[in-house]
């Protein structure tokens, strides 16, 4: 938008300049004696004006260029931010499970599709899928359950087209809860598969 304003302004100046130069040329034909001096003078003036015009033009172009670059940088930044956000989301948003289960709910599957998309768009990353449990259940059993959760997630992603070699799994059982509370909601938030980018 600003660019336009500048452009208009420049154009206006240019037009004004053009008119001025035209009238200056007429004046030189009427008087002879002073015409040569006037002509020289006019010529100089015309040159100056042309130069000014050229400068303005260059300025405008430069500004336009600048704006373009800014624009591009901004877009790039935006994109980068988006990428970062996507990555953050990939790591922060966990996939949740029911009590004593390693099956994927519909919600979980939707979440995994997003994860798959991201992974397909970031083919160079390698991730660890962590399986976690709530504290109910014995230590060893929960290690096994977490392992199953991690592996179930991995299989699903592989089916969605992610390369298996990029996906590592590890179980932490009940050893690293997200929420150490004893409420159902705390338990729920602990029954998760978590993605960690290596």
């Amino acid at each position: 938008m600003k660019n336009r304003v500048w452009i208009n302004l420049v154009m206006a100046i240019l037009v004004a300049g053009l008119f001025l130069t035209v009238s200056c040329a007429k004046k030189t034909i009427v008087s002879d004696a002073t015409t040569i001096e006037d002509q020289e003078k006019a010529k100089l003036e015309a040159d100056a004006i042309a130069k000014a015009a050229a400068d303005a033009k260059a300025e405008a172009e430069r500004i336009a260029q600048q704006n373009l670059e800014d624009q591009m940088a901004k877009e790039k930044a935006q994109k980068a931010a988006q990428i970062l956000a996507a990555m953050k989301q990939f790591q922060d948003e966990d996939i949740y499970f029911e009590y004593d289960s390693s099956e994927l709910s519909d919600e979980a599957k939707t979440g995994l599709i997003e994860k798959a998309d991201w992974l397909k768009g970031n083919t160079s990353t390698i991730v660890s899928i962590e399986g976690h449990c709530d504290e109910r259940g014995t230590t060893e059993y929960n290690l096994a359950l977490g392992d199953r959760r991690a592996n179930t997630v991995k299989s699903y992603l592989v089916n969605l087209g992610v390369s298996a070699s990029r996906l590592k799994t590890i179980s932490y059982g009940e050893e690293m809860p997200k929420d150490s509370g004893k409420t159902e909601s705390a338990y729920k938030s602990n029954r998760r598969a978590h993605f960690a980018i290596d």
Partner: protein, 457 residues
């Protein structure tokens, strides 16, 4: 009915003879039927069902000090304190208050001929322990005797010699002798318990004596270390650790600072030693599914034990090493199963409840202790293998997990959150009575494993 005809004057003797003989004969028979009941005792009965005392009262008397100097007296007192604590720990003995004692063997004599047993039966002491101590040139000699007061018999008499630092060990050896006399088993006195405790938030492996004393830290991985398991000879400890980034099984020789690591792809968890062997069972998931395998001490796979899709975890060997009990989700919910190592099929043991895990086979081979979860209550149960009847041992007292039997089967050690909602190590009698805390330590303690006693003589 014998009939006869009236025949005047003449009677054939055959008939009356028969009558008499028959009469007498039947009479005798009749007597045989009547007499026993006549003489048979139909006794009165009295029913007695509730013993007033649930622990055998034992009188522990002051030690006789042979030289009489201060140090000897001091050590004698320490020794008695250790003795009484150990005996009271058993759950089937109760040391009596010395206030009630009628005589003092330290003065009147500690040997069989010198004891007036009536003094002891009269106050209700069924067992009597006398002792003598000699301290000379840094060496301690303890004489210890156990008497049956009602039968006026000497049950065990031992003499121990050693430096002062070994006094506790001597007393505990004697306690093992007492246990052997009373129960036929050597008992718990020389056994140890391994457990997990947090240090600055990181889980490490620790060990202590049977009564919670002599706590030692065994690992310093500063990672997550879990599931300690003693070998039969007490020289090796297997445990799980994330020290290398994922759960692997570490096998460590406690005396010689050597060992091995089992680190197949995936998880390597829940190790349990085969009794008397340098082999272990463990749950490995490298195949993509958690299954139980038999491994050498170096980690080589001997054979695959379970073969079912679904979680199979937490193996525990039977005392004869031929079977394992484990937890499996093969039918949809985690339950306890038993499998013979040589057979193909596993037998399900638990049918009550939807979440039964963490099994432990009793030393007498007859029972399995395990953890059952129902309605958010986590409790310890014991199920008799033959009858399949489960009995709940803990109730309404926090979360209770990780049961492990004492080597003589008289007690269970377990994790409980009943104190302040923080997990700690507790012990209780095998019947579920008298649960009490074993040790106090900063942090959280879990997953105890009770070793066999160090071999005696």
């Amino acid at each position: 009915m014998v009939s006869f005809t009236m025949n005047k004057g003449y009677c054939s003797w055959a008939m009356p003879d028969k009558i008499i003989l028959h009469t007498l004969f039947y009479f005798m028979i009749g007597l045989l039927f009547f007499l026993p009941p006549l003489f048979a005792r139909d006794y009165d009965y009295i029913n007695v069902t509730n013993p007033f005392l649930k622990k055998t009262p034992v009188a522990v008397t002051d030690f006789k000090t042979f030289n009489g100097h201060a140090q000897e007296i001091e050590i004698g007192k320490t020794a008695i304190a250790i003795l009484k604590e150990a005996l009271d720990f058993t759950g089937y003995l109760k040391t009596m208050n010395p206030v009630a004692f009628l005589s003092n063997p330290a003065e009147s004599g500690i040997q069989l001929g010198e004891i007036n047993f009536r003094d002891w039966t009269g106050i209700g002491a069924e067992l009597l322990i006398t002792g003598g101590i000699i301290e000379a040139e840094g060496k301690i000699t303890l004489q210890l005797r156990l008497f049956d007061t009602f039968n006026a018999k000497l049950l065990v008499g031992k003499i121990y010699t050693g430096p002062e630092s070994q006094v506790r060990e001597m007393i505990l050896l004697f306690c093992s002798e007492i246990s052997y006399q009373l129960t036929g088993k050597w008992g718990i006195f020389n056994s140890k318990i391994a457990f997990v405790s947090t240090v600055n938030g990181k889980k490490e492996i620790f060990s202590c004596d049977f009564d919670g004393q002599n706590i030692k830290q065994i690992t310093t991985h500063k990672s997550i270390s879990l599931s300690p398991s003693w070998s039969s000879d007490g020289k090796w400890l297997a445990y799980v650790s994330y020290a290398k980034g994922k759960p692997d099984i570490f096998i460590k020789n406690l005396e010689e600072n050597r060992g091995s690591i089992i680190n197949y792809n995936g998880m390597n968890i829940s190790p349990d030693w085969m009794p008397g062997q340098q082999k272990l069972a463990a749950a490995l998931s490298f195949s993509g599914d958690q299954e139980i395998y038999l491994l050498t001490i170096k980690g080589e796979i001997i054979k695959r034990i379970t073969n079912s899709w679904g979680i199979d975890v937490s193996p525990d060997f039977s005392p004869d090493g031929k079977k394992i009990v484990f937890s499996s989700k093969r039918t949809g919910t985690p339950q306890i199963y038993i499998k013979d190592l040589e057979s193909e099929s596993a037998i399900r043991l638990t049918f009550k409840g939807n979440h039964n895990t963490s099994p432990a086979w009793s030393p007498d081979g007859r029972k399995i202790a395990y953890v059952g979860i129902e309605n958010n209550s986590i409790d310890i149960f014991v199920i008799n293998i033959d009858t399949g009847m489960p009995v709940q041992l803990t109730m309404n007292e926090g979360d209770n997990e990780d049961p492990s039997w004492s080597p003589d089967g008289s007690m269970l050690v377990f994790t409980s959150t009943r104190h302040g909602n923080v997990p700690g190590i507790f012990v209780m009698n095998a019947s579920g009575s008298e649960p009490r805390r074993l040790l106090q330590l900063k942090g959280k303690q879990t997953q105890p494993d009770w070793s066999l006693p160090k071999s005696i003589e």
